[in-house]
Amino acid sequence: MVVCNYIGGEASELGHIEFDAVGQTANLSERGFREVILGGAAFLPKPLFKRVGFTEKELDEQGPLGLRHLPSESFCNKLIIAQQFYRELRAELESGVPVEEVLAALEGSEVVP
């Protein structure tokens, strides 16, 4: 399983499950992770998400889409960084790099074989 966190600007649906809060967690199979990333849903594997440095307070107060009226500069900057990580991850998968290789490259990736 790949443990990942949502970092999308608005909302995405996986099946009938909606993700609309930055930091919301999903557990996906490797194949599912690949399809989700290629499908445009902005998730980061947990180690990469942690690297962005969102605080618990930020995620509680500004993470949910409905609470994000005028997000702080700090939150906005972290979201910009997180979404850049996502675009790079997506580009790697689009170019044909195997998902296992992408995940293995993330130091401390929580991938359970």
């Binding site: 600007g9 290629l38 499908g39 906005c76 900057n77």
Partner: protein
């Protein structure tokens, strides 16, 4: 045994870019449609069109004899809410349709810059500690986030680079002297290329799976219309396709009809969709004369923001047609294209403001105009319709409602030069 009924809400569409004419994306004959291709939509029509041939010679009777099936093709059309991905720089779920419309994939912008201060003025001017990256004297659509005090600056703007460290936000009005925040140049830009080789496959899966499932093979786009100022923004697109294959008849198909598949696939189990609807009445409508501005002051004096627009339609006719006259083939063999016709039509409440009088003058004098029309306000889900060199139709004053309005029928946008094909650009930021 009773048949399964078919609820129209229990339908999902999937759209896949296709690289080869006549081929539904596949791997050794197995369709590659997957969860990542799902596209939410309002309605879709997929239909085949097989010509009927009738004998033309005289028979000595006024009755018609039997007919013969002729050349085969299909049509597709779709209506969907105007929804971006929500994450800047990531293509929307409808991307394969947009690629086929524009003839190429979107370019993805890059770069950020830290804002130091902003002016409490109309328009707002931002200052940066270092270079913002936009060439002096040029325009670019960018997003601003995290700017404090002068919060009106946050959002998606057409920016004019006064110099390497200062930008003017076109159409903005300040609400304080602001500080901080980030300018981002990450966005998608769709622009035209004169190609006819961007196709897609459009799948319609219904529930239960025993119903007839369909796929339109080698779809091309000949028309799209974006409608603004509805409650929920929506757009439509349509065109021809090579053939609409049906699951129940798949075993009897010839090789063109199967599109390279060996069997009709089942619907993917866990579709991924992205984005949120846009209130169709949110955004901004700015126009000015299509002249190269040499300074922000010149530009600011010229640009007009229209606050009383009633509705806007942007219509893109990109006449791409299947070649249906190849000897020896029942099916189309390639795609041909004609000149694009890009137009905007809108209604604006009539009043005695400078903006309304100016646009009437522009229309009467046939002054070419540039339009920047923002739809939506949330970064990642703002569609900016950029029309260049628009020649306004003569307006018609309408008194069919409580207030007079001025209606501008389809007004055509034209390219600045034939090399740049900039009559219309779509930016999603």
């Amino acid at each position: 045994m009773s048949a399964n009924i078919s609820f129209s809400r229990l339908e999902r569409n999937y759209v896949q870019g296709a690289a080869i004419f006549g081929t539904i994306p596949n791997s050794s004959g197995t369709a590659t449609v997957s969860n990542s291709n799902c596209l939410r939509f309002i309605r879709t029509e997929l239909q085949n069109s097989t010509a009927l041939l009738e004998r033309q010679d005289k028979t000595g009777s006024l009755s018609q004899e039997g007919l013969v099936g002729g050349r085969r093709s299909g049509r597709w059309s779709i209506e969907m809410n105007t929804v971006a991905n929500g994450t800047a720089g990531v293509v929307p779920d409808c991307d394969p349709i947009l690629q086929a419309l524009f003839g190429q994939s979107a370019s993805v912008g890059a770069g950020t810059a830290s804002i130091t201060t902003s002016t409490n003025a109309t328009p707002i001017v931002l200052s940066f500690g270092g270079a913002h990256g936009i060439a002096s004297g040029s325009f670019e659509v960018c997003s601003i986030s995290g700017h404090a005090t002068n919060t009106n600056a946050n959002g998606v703007w057409l920016c004019y680079a006064n110099n390497t460290t200062s930008l003017t936000l076109v159409g903005s009005t300040g609400n304080g002297v602001g500080s901080g925040g980030t300018l981002s140049r990450v966005k998608l830009t769709y622009s035209f290329l004169d190609t006819t080789t961007n196709y897609f496959a459009l799948w319609s899966f219904r529930t239960p799976a025993t119903l007839d499932q369909r796929v339109a093979n080698t779809c091309i786009v000949s028309e799209a219309t974006f409608n603004l100022n509805q409650d929920v923004a929506s757009w439509t697109a349509s065109g021809d396709c090579l053939w609409v294959a049906r699951s129940s008849d798949f075993a009897n198909y010839d090789t063109t009809q199967t599109g390279g598949l060996t069997s009709f696939p089942a619907e993917p189990a866990s579709p991924v969709t992205n984005g949120v609807i846009i209130p169709g009445f949110t955004g901004r409508f700015v126009a000015w004369q299509s002249v190269a501005s040499t300074s922000a002051a010149t530009f600011a004096a010229n640009a007009q923001t229209f606050g009383t627009i009633r509705n806007v339609s942007v219509r893109l006719q990109t006449p791409r047609m299947l070649v249906m006259d190849t000897f020896g083939s029942y099916y189309a063999t390639t795609v041909e294209a004609d000149v694009r016709n890009i137009s905007v039509s809108f209604n604006i409440y009539d009043d005695d403001s400078t903006a309304v009088n100016t646009i009437k003058n522009w229309g009467d004098e046939k002054v070419p105009l540039d339009f920047y029309i923002n739809l939506g306000t949330n970064i990642g889900n703002v569609w900016v319709f950029c029309l260049k060199n628009v020649y306004l139709a003569n307006h018609v004053l309408g008194d069919g409602q409580l207030r007079f309005d001025a209606a501008y029928a389809d007004s055509r946008a034209t390219t600045t030069t034939l090399a740049v094909r900039d009559e219309f650009t779509l930016v999603i930021d």
